[in-house]
């Protein structure tokens, strides 16, 4: 890779050992992908919590701090694995909670802003067209590339942290024009009235085109989609297809005026088949989850109207996750109270998917199924041995209140 004088100085230790190690690591990653140079970034979003990092990651972080690691661009954190107010009741380990607090303290001393959210693009920072960032959580990356026209690759925790320390990232993938072009067209003939439908589209399109560099171009939809709809679409595309970008004709800034040759269609019948194909296992309906991504204010509002004057069935657990800012507003607006009065557990700053101790939690509660309106979380939780079922938002609420899975 070509290095600027500044980068050569970092590599020579001019900005300390942590920055030198970070740049050396970035060079290895850049070489793999054939990057010719680095590109400066203005914002970093990183994943780092004890569930994903383990003791090894914590030790690494502490050694970074000892080497005087400091972020040189604004850096925020993704959803984490514990809401300390709930962790005892959720059956999470006290020892791991201590480590989680240690991670948070260490990150703050490195000047990381611990926002603990996977919807930074809705609540924290909205990059502009062409802005280079280094974000992690795939849902944040696909939203940044597609909806804002910003430029980011999937940056895993260690890679995002390296970008925070050096202020740059290797120039490959979605930083380059050549990878941002649509590669196949998807005509949306379906009605798509619920967020789960948008996730189901992401599943259909992602599963059939698993490739980081596949870029679908959506077109033919009957109205303009809302931000939460694009959020569920993007999160599912990234999850099922490992995709980092999509276009939406008339909606996203870099959508092409001519469609790629390869074409597919998504109809209402396709979506009904998606829902029908989930196996209901033993019919267990005692776990309903609204998470992955965290809920926006409007999702909280919608849930509160669906749960108004309802009650979760005795023995059922219904979990909603969001970030601290949305939760505070939801409290002010009365949404949170309605949900809690119905028996919903609201967890702050976490995602259900990465909850510490999730497998033992499943066993202790004898959960076999997990029901959600998020196609993403339905896809990613399999290693914890849940049988997962995607249902529309109102159906999820009905399942939580009736205990009947259909």
């Amino acid at each position: 890779m070509e290095l600027t004088p500044e980068e050569q100085s970092i590599l020579g230790g001019g900005r300390g050992e942590a920055a030198r190690r970070a740049l050396q690591y970035q060079i290895e990653v850049g070489r793999f992908w054939g990057a010719k140079r680095f590109v400066p970034v203005t914002n970093v979003h990183m994943m780092g919590d004890i569930e994903v990092m383990g003791d090894a990651g914590l030790e690494f972080l502490k050694s970074e701090l000892k080497q005087s690691a400091r972020c040189i661009v604004p850096t925020t954190t993704n959803a984490r694995c514990m809401d300390f107010a709930h962790c005892e009741r959720m059956g999470q380990d006290a020892g791991e909670a201590v480590k989680e607090k240690e991670i948070i303290a260490t990150l703050r001393r490195m000047d990381v802003v611990t926002t603990d959210t996977c919807i930074n693009y809705q609540t924290v920072y909205q990059p502009h067209l062409g802005e280079h960032v280094a974000w992690g959580d795939t849902g944040t990356v696909i939203y940044a590339n597609s909806v804002f026209g910003a430029r980011s690759n999937f940056e895993a925790g260690p890679a995002a942290l390296a970008a925070a320390l050096t202020g740059r990232t290797p120039e490959y993938g979605f930083h380059l024009d050549e990878h941002r072009k649509g590669t196949f067209a998807v005509q949306l003939k379906a009605r798509l009235d619920d967020l789960a439908d948008w996730g189901a589209v992401g599943k259909l399109v992602g599963e059939s085109h698993q490739n980081y560099y596949a870029v679908p171009v959506f077109h033919g939809y009957r109205r303009a989609p809302a931000a939460d709809e694009l959020k569920h679409l993007g999160a599912a595309l990234a999850s099922y297809g490992s995709m980092g970008m999509f276009h939406f004709v008339g909606v996203t800034p870099e959508a092409p005026s001519t469609l790629p040759n390869e074409k597919m269609v998504v109809s209402d019948a396709d979506l009904e088949l998606v829902y029908r194909n989930y196996k209901l296992g033993d019919g267990d309906a005692r776990l309903v989850v609204f998470s992955g991504p965290q809920q926006s204010l409007f999702e909280m509002k919608n849930l509160s109207s669906l749960f108004q004057n309802r009650e979760i069935k005795n023995g059922t657990t219904c979990i909603v996750t969001t970030n601290s800012a949305i939760l505070q507003q939801s409290r002010d607006l009365g949404y949170a109270k309605i949900l809690e009065d119905a028996g919903v557990t609201i967890l702050e700053g976490v995602c259900f998917y990465i909850l510490q101790n999730l497998s033992p939690m499943r066993v202790a509660n004898r959960w076999t199924n997990m029901v959600s309106n998020s196609a993403k979380i339905v896809n990613i939780i399999g290693a914890h041995r849940f049988n997962t079922i995607l249902r529309r938002t109102a159906d999820c609420v009905e399942i939580a209140c009736s205990g009947v899975l259909k």
């Binding site: 994943m47 990092m53 383990g54 895993a156 990465i354 896809n379 290693a383």
Partner: protein, 144 residues
Amino acid sequence: MQRGPEVNIKVHRAFGPVVEGEAVVSEEGFSPRYDLDRWTGVITKPGHKLEGTSIVDKICFFPTAKGGIAAGWAFYDIKWKKIAPKAFIFGVTNPVMVQGAVFAGIPITEGWDPHPREVVKSGDWVRVDPARKLVEVLKRGKRR
């Protein structure tokens, strides 16, 4: 004495030192978060084509990578726990897998010619040589 390679697979991109080990060949893609029990190194996702298979110390062939930023820390975590594979050989991968493998010092490659399905089976003994962008099948396994 080691015999010469029976078959070579050319890979397009590669990182890491030379390693040798037993092959595990998957028809399905992989994520250490979606599919793997990160305490035993066994693939546990219900219905995964390798469900019940251990990847500890194996050289793993996967056609695709799945989702997940969290995978970036997972490789370092499983290496620390001594349940990591020796190498990942991907048909198509994504940045997270590469960032995670480089961080953990686990060899990783992308792209293959010919397709491993034609020339290597689970249980074969293979050598990965990233600098030469080569995977060599050294010895046929008993399961063939």
